[in-house]
């Protein structure tokens, strides 16, 4: 029951999308395809031939003033979400190490651990660990096939 309400809360947060103060991060596929869709014309005009990666982001920054407001807004929200998810996935081991030793009793960073965390009540974890786990996107992934 606790797990069901946790998943439901995550879904509601996801539906909120990028505009909802980044309460939940987007998948990388959803995030970057927003840029491909919304910024298609701006990319063709200002960033043609610029590779996806750090140079595309630099191009958006350099041309922010002349890009369409929609594209400007989208790149801001999308890169914030991507950075937040990537940072959470990188740092969760440090941020949650005490919680997962206490609650899951398993070594960090395998699918079993993620399954354990997804089954925990949010309040069982420290708030920072819980937020980081939400930001990884793993709470809504199936950790096992």
């Amino acid at each position: 029951m606790k797990r069901a309400s946790f998943v439901l809360a995550s879904l509601l947060l996801t539906v909120g999308g990028a505009g909802a103060a980044a309460a939940q991060t987007m998948s990388y596929a959803d995030a970057i395809s927003q840029i491909a869709t919304v910024c298609k014309n701006d990319i063709a005009r200002y960033c043609k031939g610029v590779p996806l990666g750090p140079r595309l982001r630099a191009c958006f920054d350099a041309n922010a003033a002349r890009m369409s407001p929609q594209c400007q807004q989208t790149t801001g929200a999308v890169y914030a979400s991507i950075t937040r998810r990537a940072t959470a996935q990188r740092d969760i081991g440090d941020i949650c190490s005490a919680d997962i030793m206490r609650l899951c009793g398993t070594s960090f960073a395998d699918a079993n651990l993620v399954t354990c965390m997804a089954g925990l009540a949010p309040q069982a974890m420290s708030p920072r660990c819980y937020q980081t786990f939400l930001d990884t996107g793993w709470a809504t992934e199936k950790a096992r096939p």
Partner: protein, 207 residues
């Protein structure tokens, strides 16, 4: 240019090859991760990326001609779990088209999936037969590197788990139609566990 980009999924384990085509919008990174994580009985890659690149050049030198006489065989890759995606690039260039941004994002989602934490991957680029064989090796290498670089930044994939290799046109998927688009593809190969994790989350090179 095709209107509908397709994604070919090949979960290749030993001799069993399963291929399905999905519309680009329905790329499923969980499915990709699950396929790539299916490593029971998986071998570890017994050669380095540099050795693979050299082997491709040696193959061209030993088998000259406008087209490769037969697809180059890479027995070292055959027992490894892999996944094939289609990524569109500008013509003759290593610039990924915006129409394929989602595919690259989906690869990033899959490589960050909990099932695949700590595994190493080869990103192998393949071209069709348009252009010279040597220059196609160079182009496919640059394309594989472009994907690797985008996966690292902004998507945060650990650079230490990714190696790019270009095979040019030396492994045509459809040798009877060497200029066909099905030959242009990117192969992701799980080369085995690179990093293991300790009880308190520390990461170390697996023994």
């Amino acid at each position: 240019m095709k209107l509908h980009h397709s994604l070919a999924i090949g979960a290749l384990l030993g001799a069993a090859v399963v291929t399905a085509a999905l519309a680009q919008q329905s790329i499923n990174s969980s499915q990709m991760a699950t396929s790539l994580a299916n490593v029971s009985g998986n071998n570890k890659l017994s050669m380095t990326g540099a050795q693979m690149r050299q082997a491709v050049l040696d193959y061209i030198r030993d088998n000259p001609g406008a087209l490769p006489p037969r697809p180059m065989s890479f027995p070292q890759l055959e027992g490894l779990t892999q996944f094939v995606v289609e990524v569109d690039f500008d013509f003759g260039s290593a610039v990924i088209r915006p129409s394929s941004y989602r595919t690259v994002g989906a690869i990033a989602d899959a490589l960050h999936h909990p099932l695949l934490l700590g595994y190493g991957f080869l990103v192998i680029g393949h071209t069709d037969s348009v252009g010279g064989r040597q220059s196609n090796v160079v182009l496919s290498q640059r394309r594989a590197e472009a994907i690797r670089e985008a996966l690292i930044e902004p998507f945060g994939v650990n650079p230490a788990v990714l190696e790019a290799v270009g095979m040019g046109e030396e492994q045509l998927r459809d040798p009877a139609h060497p200029t066909s688009g099905v030959n242009r593809r990117v192969q992701l190969v799980n080369v085995g566990k690179k990093f293991c994790f300790g009880r308190s989350g520390e990461q170390f090179v697996c023994q």
